[in-house]
Each structure stands twice: as C-alpha cells, then as structure tokens.
Subunit: 247 residues, 2 copies
C-alpha cells in the first residue's frame, strides 16, 4: 500500500474531462488528492454488498465491474469500469453498499478517502458538480442497459454493449480505429445482458458471420460500425460525452 504521486491520478482527470470541462486549478486539485495505491488480483471483491466504505476506489489500470447476486447463483453485472472510472463514487452519499464491486482483471487501484472528496467539493464547487454529473451519467447508462435488457433482442443487446464500450474507451483515449480490449468472458457478457453464455456464444458467431465484428480472446474489432450500431439501435446521447463524439 503506497501513497499516490500526482501523475498517478491522471486517468481520473482524463475521465472527468471526457464529460465536463475543468479549469487548471481544478485539474491540479484532483491530481493532488490523497490516495493509497493497491494492486489486486483478478476476480477479487473490492467492496461487498452491505459494506460501509470510507473510501472511493479509482481504477488506475485494469478493469473492475459491479454486480448483484441472487438466489441459486444467479448474477447480474451492473457495469464495467475501465481505468479512470470511480466505480463506487455513489458511496460518498449512500453509506451502505447495495451491490458488490470486484476486479475483472489484475488491477492497480487508488483508494481516496471520502473525507478528501468532501473537502474537495467544498473548496471547488465546480468539481462537486463534475462528480455529481459523473454519477448522473452512470445512472443514464443504467437506464440504457435496462432498456436493452427489457426490450432488445440478444443480438441488439450485444451490439449495443460493444458500441458503448468502444465509445467509452475512445473518449478517454484508450481505443482508436474501432479496436479495443474487452477482457470479459462470454459468461460475463451474459450476466451483464440477461442472457445465458450459450446464447451469447451463438450470437457472437452470428455477428462474426455477418462481418460486423472480429473477436479473438479479448481483442474486439468493430469491422462494420454502421451495421453494428444500427443493429443495437445505438444512440450515444445517453453517454453525455463532452464533444458529442459519435464514432
């Protein structure tokens, strides 16, 4: 457990700048947040349902994800978080966790005390608004996922997920030219979209067959963005990206 140097928190700055504009002063204040760095293995819980964390977790490298567990081992994945994300920022004002947060891959994580965030938002109301906005985008993504799970076909859901993931990565400079690394298994995709892994597998083959994507291991290439986003009825408005980048 080491404490962070100011360059460590750059992914956070980049993330917030993807959805809002920051002043130089605000950027500096963010970078000098106190944070404890920790390395974690893949598939480890970071915070659990019913916990009362005193810190927020920032992803510096690797991926994390949030999930709920139901009876008979059923799992619903709520979100995937690449570097720069604050996957449990909501714990700043919701004191009890209502879901789990875990690593997907090996991760480098920064833990920032709630106290430091509260101090930060007091001194910089603009940053307070930016963080609030971040949690609102989070909620907007939940709404979109709900809509997908409730009303889209399996094919549409997966197409939509791929479009969203690519655009999110692109907006923080972690992907270009319709290629990215998505380190999820087919079971993960199923649990995120309310599908069985078997069906995910079949739909992926169909997508490859139609020449929409390439997917080997965790490397996704979106071969035909137009067709894929059409299949998923993908409209990026809900991501509320600053530049309104579309693809």
């Amino acid at each position: 457990m080491v404490s962070a140097s100011s360059s460590d928190l750059i992914p956070l700055v980049r993330k917030l700048e993807s959805i809002t504009q920051l002043t130089g002063e605000e950027r500096q204040a963010l970078e000098s947040l106190p944070a404890a760095i920790r390395l974690m293995q893949p598939r480890q819980d970071i915070v659990r349902d019913k916990d009362r964390p005193e810190h927020c977790c920032l992803v510096l490298s690797g991926w994390t994800y949030r999930y709920k567990l139901l009876s008979e081992g059923k799992r619903q994945i709520l979100s995937f978080h690449p570097p720069g994300d604050l996957p449990d920022l909501q714990s700043l004002h919701l004191h009890v966790m209502d879901h789990n947060l875990a690593t997907l891959t090996a991760c480098r994580l920064a833990f920032i005390p709630h106290e430091a965030f509260r101090d930060l938002t007091n001194r910089f109301p603009g940053l307070g608004a930016a963080l609030w906005r971040d949690t609102l985008v989070d909620a907007a993504i939940f709404r979109e996922w709900m809509t997908g799970i409730g009303r889209r076909t399996a094919f549409g859901r997966i197409a939509h997920l791929f479009c969203e993931m690519y655009l999110k990565l692109h907006s923080v400079g972690l992907a270009t030219s319709h290629r990215c690394e998505l380190p999820f298994t087919q079971v993960d995709i199923g649990d995120a979209l309310g599908l069985s892994n078997v069906h995910v597998n079949r739909v992926l083959q169909e997508m490859r067959g139609k020449g929409l994507i390439t997917l080997q291991g965790s490397r996704l290439v979106i071969v035909d963005w137009g067709a894929l986003s059409e299949a998923g009825e993908f409209d990026p408005t809900y991501l509320h990206l600053r530049a309104g980048e579309t693809a």
Copy 2:
C-alpha cells in the same frame, strides 16, 4: 400557470426527509423555492428525449413516469413517480434529455428553475448533498430494476415491483397497512418489467390465486407481505430509506 405558495412544496420536503435529515433552515429554504404550478392531463409528455429543459419538474399530486421508445413501438418504462418526486432532477447537470417524462394520471406539477436549484445548493451545501443523494437513490433503483429484468422470473419481478412501490409510498406517508393506489395498466407494468401485457395478466391471476395480493382497478392490497417479498427476493437496502423501514 400560477406561482407556488410555500405550503405547495411540502411533498418535496417530505420526500427528501424520507432519505436524509434536514435542518429547519433547509426545510424553509426548500419551501420558498420559486415554482410555477401547472395542471396536466393524463398521458401527456412533460419533457421529451433530446429536449434541453431549464426547469426541474416536481410532482405535487398524481403520478408521472419516465420511458424510452425503441423501434416498432417498443417502450421501456424506467420509473414511476408519486407526489414529492423530482423525476428529472438529473437535468440539472445533464443538459440533454436521454428519455421522456410524462404524466401517468392527471397531475399538479411545480416547475422550478435550474437557476433556483443552483442558488440553493450554493447557499445550503447540505441541501446540495441531499439532492445529489436523491439522484443516487434513483440510480440504485435502476440497478435493482436491471437485476430484476435480467435475472428474475416474471412472477418475481412483479412481486418485487409491488413491494418497492408500497414501501416508497409508505416512506412519504402515502400508504399504510399494505394498501395503496397504483394507477398503472397491465401494459405499463409489462413495459416497466420487460414483459408482455398478456403475461402480466396471467401472473397477476396467479398471485391472486395464491392469496398474495388483491388488485381491483388501481387499488393494490398486499395480503401476504412475507410471501410476496420472498417471491420477489425483496431486500429494501437499495432504497436507502432513512429509518431503514422494512414494512
């Protein structure tokens, strides 16, 4: 379009007090927010996808709901809002709407300028935190709905919805002794839970048959709370109610 008197905004105070504690000063500041009152007919859009509202809508009486539209007339309902709710509070920091807000029943609504909210949160940081918290609870409910739609049976989903609705109403003093008014049609329930109205109808009959509920018109009576909440695997943690009320 009349402007509000201070007693008009009491439902808002009650709602915020269901999830947080307010000081006398804060309560007073809330009640003296400037607001324009408007009456609306049932099933009218209040704010539409892609709009850029300058006001937040507060429900004074009646119900509103949020929804998204997809191709071929498919609809996903995202939330239902009884009196006291601020169903588009997110528009304070997300400037473009990514879904629609509409009346479910005839409504009395108050429209409060964003400007007034910004001023309020500047003068009373505690109220800023309370409103932020409100949007976080909103997001927590989305997560729970996602989980239901993705991983629960039709029976479990409907059971869960009824438990949630009753508890939300109870927390603001709009329901007691396991009875409440839910003015949704079976089509609405289906569009909220990712089901067809036909199937909703059959599940409701099954619920009545098992003696879990009574439902005539819009009057719901939860006859067997224990069995219903068990069927829906209902755990109220995600509602983040202040008293931690369970039933």
